[in-house]
């Protein structure tokens, strides 16, 4: 597949901002039929108004209809698709080529984003917040640390994706080799694993607060339980186990003895 060379151009600032803001609602109509397809069309729409003839043109309606179909991507990386597809439409790339590009792009944007954000960045930020709690930080400070850290990455990813997608057009696949996307999960995962060992005992210790003996018992119970869950809990979500265990404990505690 030979991609046409995109001319050096960028989106006007007003349109860029409109698309960027719409990206925060890209999953607004998420459903099992088209996933985020409708959201992609919704986000691209301001750029499509730049097509010759504007909103009254056939190219505008055809493009909008094309992009409202099935599409899947991680929401934070959807900007890459929105930028690249908008660029392709504005460059007059043939619809068949755009369709093939859409099909090829969705999978990688989903898996790369899931690994980097949901399985690495989010747990790391949670653990930082839990560690801050364990060290005795106040509620406002903990919230500020968590939201500040997490959203620094979040907002950057959305902006980078949109800018890179539009700049590179159909050649955007190369950008998925960006070091942050490729090696980020490994480095973030290492940091998170180290931090987990610190944050969980400290957070547990602060919650228990009733004395070191009980905190120690809780930690030992947690380590044994955690090891068992890690070994045998592959098929059951941990929170469901917690729900059942807790229900049994509550029942035990309210039955007169």
């Amino acid at each position: 597949m030979t991609a046409p060379q995109p001319p050096a151009a960028s989106l006007p600032l007003g349109i860029w901002i409109r698309i960027y803001l719409r990206l925060f609602a890209v999953q607004g109509a998420w459903n099992y039929e088209t996933l985020i397809g409708n959201g992609i069309a919704f986000c691209m729409e301001p750029a499509l108004r730049m097509l010759p003839g504007g909103t009254k043109s056939q190219r505008y309606t055809e493009a909008l209809g094309r992009h409202a179909r099935y599409f899947n991507a991680h929401p934070y990386l959807a900007g890459i698709a929105v930028g690249a597809l908008a660029r392709a439409e504005l460059d007059g790339v043939p619809p068949a080529l755009i369709e093939r590009f859409r099909t090829a792009l969705g999978g990688p944007l989903g898996s790369v984003g899931d690994r980097l954000v949901w399985a690495s960045w989010l747990p790391l930020c949670s653990l930082v917040a839990l560690a801050a709690f364990g060290f005795g930080a106040r509620p406002g400070v903990i919230i500020a640390i968590f939201l500040g850290l997490y959203n620094a990455g979040h907002l950057w990813m959305r902006a980078w994706g949109l800018r890179t997608g539009f700049e590179r057009g159909l050649r955007v696949a190369d950008s998925l080799g960006h070091p942050v996307l490729r090696q980020g999960p490994q480095y973030v995962g290492s940091a998170a694993a180290l931090l987990a060992g610190i944050a969980i005992p400290l957070a547990v210790g602060r919650i228990v607060m009733e004395g070191r003996t009980l905190a120690g018992e809780a930690i030992i119970g947690a380590i044994v339980g955690g090891a068992l869950l890690a070994r045998f809990g592959e098929r059951v979500d941990g929170w469901r186990i917690a729900l059942v265990a807790l229900a049994v404990f509550v029942l035990y505690s309210v039955i007169p003895k």
């Binding site: 925060f24 609602a25 999953q27 607004g28 109509a29 099992y32 088209t34 959201g39 919704f42 309606t61 909008l64 209809g65 899947n72 991680h74 929401p75 989903g110 899931d114 949901w118 399985a119 989010l122 949670s126 917040a129 709690f133 364990g134 509620p139 903990i142 939201l147 959203n151 979040h154 995962g189 998170a192 694993a193 180290l194 987990a196 060992g197 610190i198 944050a199 969980i200 005992p201 400290l202 919650i207 070191r212 809780a218 930690i219 119970g221 339980g225 068992l228 869950l229 890690a230 809990g233 592959e234 941990g238 917690a242 729900l243 807790l246 404990f249 509550v250 505690s253 309210v254 039955i255």
Partner: protein, 230 residues
């Protein structure tokens, strides 16, 4: 009495609606994470510290639930509001408050997760009804679908939070009045359960990272040392 109760619940339900939306539809800034949502709910009830305790407990449980695309997962935003608000009200000197409030939050998370599946089907049905307009590239159909989904999610989160608070308020009071287990052990058991789940989750998420075992052990040693020194 009824009007007062509804007025009491309305601000918290609104908070649950907004934070419930954040999970998937808008803006996914993770203000719906338990450590944020439960603390804010606790602040609404005048006890941010209590809300934060519930937030930390729920955050430990939520660590293992990764919100991958079409997978089914608990909805922590509204659930954290319910848990945070409930615990913030009952936290002072009630031995079973943490356990019972957490149970309320987890049941809410279960129901709220189910409601998200229903919402996604509703969105699909709505999009199907407008398929011809979408195929024709109607901007009003595209924007209409988006607004429908966002509004429905806002209503969903609000309803789940409101009904959960309405239901759990008397149930929590009843359970706490009959609670017999010692306060320290009540809290210890809850913490051990959630810490075990979070430790298992951390291992499941990061065991593929190079030298994960080493990092975890180094972290644990550091954490234990800090606990002992303090």
């Amino acid at each position: 009495m009824t009007a007062t109760l509804l007025l009491d619940l309305f601000p918290i339900a609104l908070l649950g609606a907004l934070l419930g939306m954040d999970v998937v539809t808008f803006p996914q800034a993770m203000i719906s994470r338990p450590i944020v949502a439960a603390t804010v709910a606790g602040s609404f009830m005048g006890n941010p510290g209590g809300g934060m305790i519930m937030g930390v407990v729920l955050e430990l449980l939520a660590l293992g639930m990764l919100p991958f695309g079409a997978s089914r997962y608990p909805e922590w935003g509204s659930a954290s509001v319910v848990g945070g608000a409930t615990y913030a009200v009952h936290a002072a000197n009630l031995p079973g408050a943490l356990a019972v409030s957490l149970l309320a939050a987890l049941v809410t998370a279960l129901v709220s997760g189910w409601s998200m599946v229903k919402l996604r089907r509703l969105n699909a049905a709505h999009a199907t009804r407008r398929r011809d307009d979408l195929e024709a590239g109607s901007p009003s159909a595209v924007i209409g679908n988006q607004l429908f989904g966002l509004t429905a999610d806002l209503v969903r989160g609000g309803l789940v939070t409101f009904l959960a608070l309405l239901l759990f308020r008397p149930v929590v009071d009843l359970l706490l009045a009959r609670w017999t287990t010692d306060a320290a052990y009540s809290r210890g058991v809850v913490v051990a359960i959630v810490a075990a789940v979070s430790a298992g989750a951390i291992w499941k998420i990061f065991h593929t990272v190079n030298h994960a075992r080493l990092y975890l052990l180094a972290g644990l040693a550091t954490g234990a040392a800090i606990l002992i020194i303090r």
